[in-house]
Symmetry: D2
Subunit: 426 residues, 4 copies
Amino acid sequence: MSTIKELDSTLKVFEELESEVRSYIRSFPVTFEKSKGHSLWDQDGKEYIDFFAGAGALNYGHNPPLLKEQLLRYIAEDGISHSLDMGTKAKANFLTKFHEVILEPRNLNYKVMFPGPTGTNTVESALKLARKVTGRDSIISFTNAFHGMTLGSLSITGNSFKRHGAGVPLQNSVSMPFDKFLGTNVDTLDYLERFLEDNGSGVALPAGIIVETVQGEGGINVAEEAWLKRLADICNRWEILLIIDDVQAGCGRTGTFFSFEPAGIEPDIVCMSKSISGYGIPMAITLLKPEYDVWDPGEHNGTFRGHNLAFITATEALEYWKDDNLSGEVEEKGLKVGEFLDQLVREYPQLQGETRGRGLMRGIACKEEGLAEKICEQAFERGLIMETAGPDSEVFKIMPPLTITHNALDTGLAIIEDSIKMCIQK
Amino acid sequence: MSTIKELDSTLKVFEELESEVRSYIRSFPVTFEKSKGHSLWDQDGKEYIDFFAGAGALNYGHNPPLLKEQLLRYIAEDGISHSLDMGTKAKANFLTKFHEVILEPRNLNYKVMFPGPTGTNTVESALKLARKVTGRDSIISFTNAFHGMTLGSLSITGNSFKRHGAGVPLQNSVSMPFDKFLGTNVDTLDYLERFLEDNGSGVALPAGIIVETVQGEGGINVAEEAWLKRLADICNRWEILLIIDDVQAGCGRTGTFFSFEPAGIEPDIVCMSKSISGYGIPMAITLLKPEYDVWDPGEHNGTFRGHNLAFITATEALEYWKDDNLSGEVEEKGLKVGEFLDQLVREYPQLQGETRGRGLMRGIACKEEGLAEKICEQAFERGLIMETAGPDSEVFKIMPPLTITHNALDTGLAIIEDSIKMCIQK
Amino acid sequence: MSTIKELDSTLKVFEELESEVRSYIRSFPVTFEKSKGHSLWDQDGKEYIDFFAGAGALNYGHNPPLLKEQLLRYIAEDGISHSLDMGTKAKANFLTKFHEVILEPRNLNYKVMFPGPTGTNTVESALKLARKVTGRDSIISFTNAFHGMTLGSLSITGNSFKRHGAGVPLQNSVSMPFDKFLGTNVDTLDYLERFLEDNGSGVALPAGIIVETVQGEGGINVAEEAWLKRLADICNRWEILLIIDDVQAGCGRTGTFFSFEPAGIEPDIVCMSKSISGYGIPMAITLLKPEYDVWDPGEHNGTFRGHNLAFITATEALEYWKDDNLSGEVEEKGLKVGEFLDQLVREYPQLQGETRGRGLMRGIACKEEGLAEKICEQAFERGLIMETAGPDSEVFKIMPPLTITHNALDTGLAIIEDSIKMCIQK
Amino acid sequence: MSTIKELDSTLKVFEELESEVRSYIRSFPVTFEKSKGHSLWDQDGKEYIDFFAGAGALNYGHNPPLLKEQLLRYIAEDGISHSLDMGTKAKANFLTKFHEVILEPRNLNYKVMFPGPTGTNTVESALKLARKVTGRDSIISFTNAFHGMTLGSLSITGNSFKRHGAGVPLQNSVSMPFDKFLGTNVDTLDYLERFLEDNGSGVALPAGIIVETVQGEGGINVAEEAWLKRLADICNRWEILLIIDDVQAGCGRTGTFFSFEPAGIEPDIVCMSKSISGYGIPMAITLLKPEYDVWDPGEHNGTFRGHNLAFITATEALEYWKDDNLSGEVEEKGLKVGEFLDQLVREYPQLQGETRGRGLMRGIACKEEGLAEKICEQAFERGLIMETAGPDSEVFKIMPPLTITHNALDTGLAIIEDSIKMCIQK
């Protein structure tokens, strides 16, 4: 290893000091320094438009001004930073405002649990609770689901590379086909029901069924409203807890605060994280129907379940949901992106593309192996941050901040088209 | 449920809106609002001395001024908040300074992995890596270990209540007796070795052995240096990866930066979190010997593995380790607390107390069921925040910020003595 | 408990001294004493025609004369009874004759393993071997499969009541839909393949796929030849070991010695038991392709893997396979039974019956809950032993000895029709 | 492969047609043809004295005359061979006589279950029942335990080679140190209790504890009576089911019918197989206290749970237990063997031997690697069949039929001494 003295380039720092597990830095090989709204700047001052938004953790953009202001004030005034699950004013304010702004207007009745500050924490808490409530062992999840990297969440995640990373067999879960996994003509819930109703199917009645309404990592796969409704009915009929993992699709990414609102369903448990703090800082909540709040005190815990800086920004972020403006914007921009993608598919048949998505969670699945990755690479050279999704990284994924300007959105889309042209020529 | 209007008391907020899983708020039934150094204030302005320090997440006290300053500046300048594992200047600075200030002076050679921002994330990453490196399944952990609440970490955690919360059998782990678990006359590693060497023992050669040098949650149980050295020898001889979980005992809690330094061992993997950010905000790192850095890119990931606000405070916190001042202070204060506790045990035989601990991680195990909890309760009424540990909450635990003033330390200790007197009288 | 003196009735013996787990005695509440060919007699001398044949363990009828003669001679001459896996002349003779009469004429090349004397022993050995050969963990089995009651076999058995009996979650297996599980229009192997080919499906590449060509316990479900061929192709393409569990369908039950012969496939492993000894006494063999014979000596063992009395009768039983006579008989009788059942379905629409089966493994699935059981009950009263199958015991199952006379077969079928009439009237 | 024509030597038959998993034939490379009492003859007419007795399956010797007579008569009269769990006269007679001769005189009250005809079947049934009765998951077993090769039994077997054969991690079991595993000065039950009583031990309260009073395969390790008594007390105190696996040590091998009689304990479940049929043919029973007979009908089943030929010989074998003659003989011969072994240890210090055992289940553990195997090899050349035991095959094991003549016993012992001399010289 070279001495620290020689580490003049910051990329060299990562190569020499950080583990090989690092990943996105390989797609975006620069060192970022500053960010604002829909933009990042690297340390050479080059600006990038962000169509990635922290994988859905930056729905309100980088460092949104009102949140930033509250955060600075709270820190400056020596507000409590870390509180485990003691009572703090910051937490009380969040709970109250979340109830008033989010739950009450939607006629939803949930208790809020702070399970630790990440997506996988909320998912693991949901699995525990479903098992405790029902006394059953297994969880049904879906093909191409992504729920997290700790052992419980990994056992319900579809990706074989991630699963293999566990190093041990993953247990107590059954993978069922997501909507349209078997083609557009097959209602995959027929299959699921057949397994539930046949006493010899080898699939036990599960404690819970966990689903993302739009699978982000899995390839921007959208579950139809009717499919979700039927899934909720099935859960209800068989007394299975329905768990919506809204970690990526929630907080307005698809237009409504909860991604399941258009389907008109009421999940038993909802998992939220990523954009819930609104500032890209760690926070997660688990929402549970009061009748299922059978936890013993401390039965699930975690050092950072009381991250008050996050409570401050999360509370301020709820301002976005006091009216329908943001929802309207997402719908509008989403349609724009969707139409643009449809047009790309038509105009560039070499893509063999399939448009996917809902709200501002969109993408195109490209048939040719490696093509989506090449398009992202070209886009990055042109100043656009965009990533792939899907089991074979076959989808390029458009997930800008919901607050992106139309201008920046148009610029980004134009970069994509340029990048496609470049890739197709080659 | 009452309407929000009626929720005038903040405690009522928690009762009505937060899940029953909340725990510490039941021991400390107030709403905290502000904190600084070794003190917290509730919303009525009452001050509390903190002998809990966020369960070890606040080693440098609440809102340490220099860290706060850097944090405010970084936020004000729109430094990047969230970056997944992209390269950022904040991360590069942390990596460089951690290498210079911590690793190099100790002749330690580790790659740094960012596994997600909590203790259980780093532990889960360590388990995966040990399994990948060795191709083996099981992990040996110790009685009364606490490693986290997600399924992998829970499988190596001793506490039966927490384990039961999993709702499924926990697998691929074997629990062995921690130092002195079988009394002071038994070297429990004889037992461990016997199991390893006998081909019929029913205990397979494990991928790794994970251990806390001082078990915090488990009851302030201290592993002797000789025991740790022998454990390291055993791991070396059998080609088992030695994983030190320094989440609670690290970052100076026992006097040295790493808790294992006095034992003179070099673990293969080190798990750190809690006080690594220095500001009570979520961050974790996994240190691994370069020869074991066999991760594929992205094989373990997580949304909040790039929490740059934490990188900023963590980098500044390393200033504490540029000289021996803090270590010296911890030693001095630790001895003071230790002597005080010894004296309590002598003077109050009704405690049937046993003094435990190292550095500023101390406590007394009380024989009578419920006594330690009562003492904490009394202490809280007198303005001291202190918690219990151990499988039956039988230990009251003294873990103030390392930076506590001698004055406050003395005041806190006096409160403890008063509380004991009160409890014993009853 | 009454004293032994009072136990005058033999049924009382079972009630008082045998565990509640006993099962068939509840359907056939008499004490049997003697048997020959297709008949049993109870201790009162009443004769019963046997349409059950020991659940497929008595394909050549009760106490077939030539086997009986060999058995008596061997015992009389003090042939070795028990030999573990030492070499005995009885075993050598079986191995040689099995090779000559069964394997060579079919151009099959298998090594023979003696895994212990029961069906579940051979299945457990097959699972171990598939895992060892491939280094993979999981096994794919099918809905309504029945493979045995020990933990490994149970994990690939579909029946929820049996699975629940394990008392622990069953692991390392995935249940896929058997042929026609999703209706006659769906090729369920499309589904299986979709899961194998998608890297995000959550279903890992398995070590092996285990299948019964006709599911006996599962409800006399027949896999089509084309389905089996395609399954073999899939296994071949993905380098998955194909395991045929021929415990019930083998030894001529469907007409050919191996049930998979008509499909023209060559499984990698074949599990046989039940009728392999030919005399209803415990014996099992596992056939494996020589290239997969990677066992270490003694890696799988068992006290009764050398049951020489069974080797004697099994060797003699191979005489049935020196020509095509028996196969021809099974075909002829099978067709007769099939036509009779079709006719029943037509003539008794109240059955809402569905004819199932192949060879002399036939039955009718009745829609009305409990109807099949009632028919069996009536049949027993009329001197016919017949049992149900299927996850809800909805199929009455016709499995007489292959050697049954046409006369007895006709009598038995007539009893069934009478029983149906009786049940429908009620 | 050679054509069948060329397979003139019977050993060649095994090499070419049988799987590599075969084991004992490698220690005893001949083909056996006949057996009687304590003798076997190979096909060349050479006689061997049997100090192995089918690993405990031939306690009454090969083909004991009275049993043979009953067996021949029953077969000749067309007694029922195979009956699943229907009622048969043969089973009724066994149940009644077992109750009268074995249970009543010992004041034991057990229901009898027929779990399938092998040791691993009875063990798997015991595990299921313990889990059902208690609602708990895990089973505690002991170091160097051997309980069988199917997945449930394998999970509680100590041998690492056998365990590894599973190909998947073995679960829901905890291995605790058997008596004297940690040396003669350590009461290993202190250790077990410490784990049970500490709520943070990581070892859950188990459903059952399963133990062999003398570990046969594990190295002829004897549990002291006091240790067994204390174990029974522990089980009673913690409401854990005590399961005695008497498959090898039962049926008189240690002098009494049940091996646990001298300890004066009453297990909740007893597993028996091997010599229960008395003729070396497959049979097993599970004894359970009536209050634990909570099985649903058919919850555990198996094709060969009604092996009536075995019931016939097993019933006749009970004649041995109508008086104390056999017990007395075992004691006498056992003492003779024990003294002889003690003398060997004294006279041949090169053995570095340790005498082990009880009744006619004896042996010497030799320190030098491979020595015990060499002694067995030499003994075989001299006409004695003897095997090794222990995790490293370090024990040569003396387990003749209980009915061996003093003459043959002396001859066998003399062969052992000769073999030792030969091995030591080398």
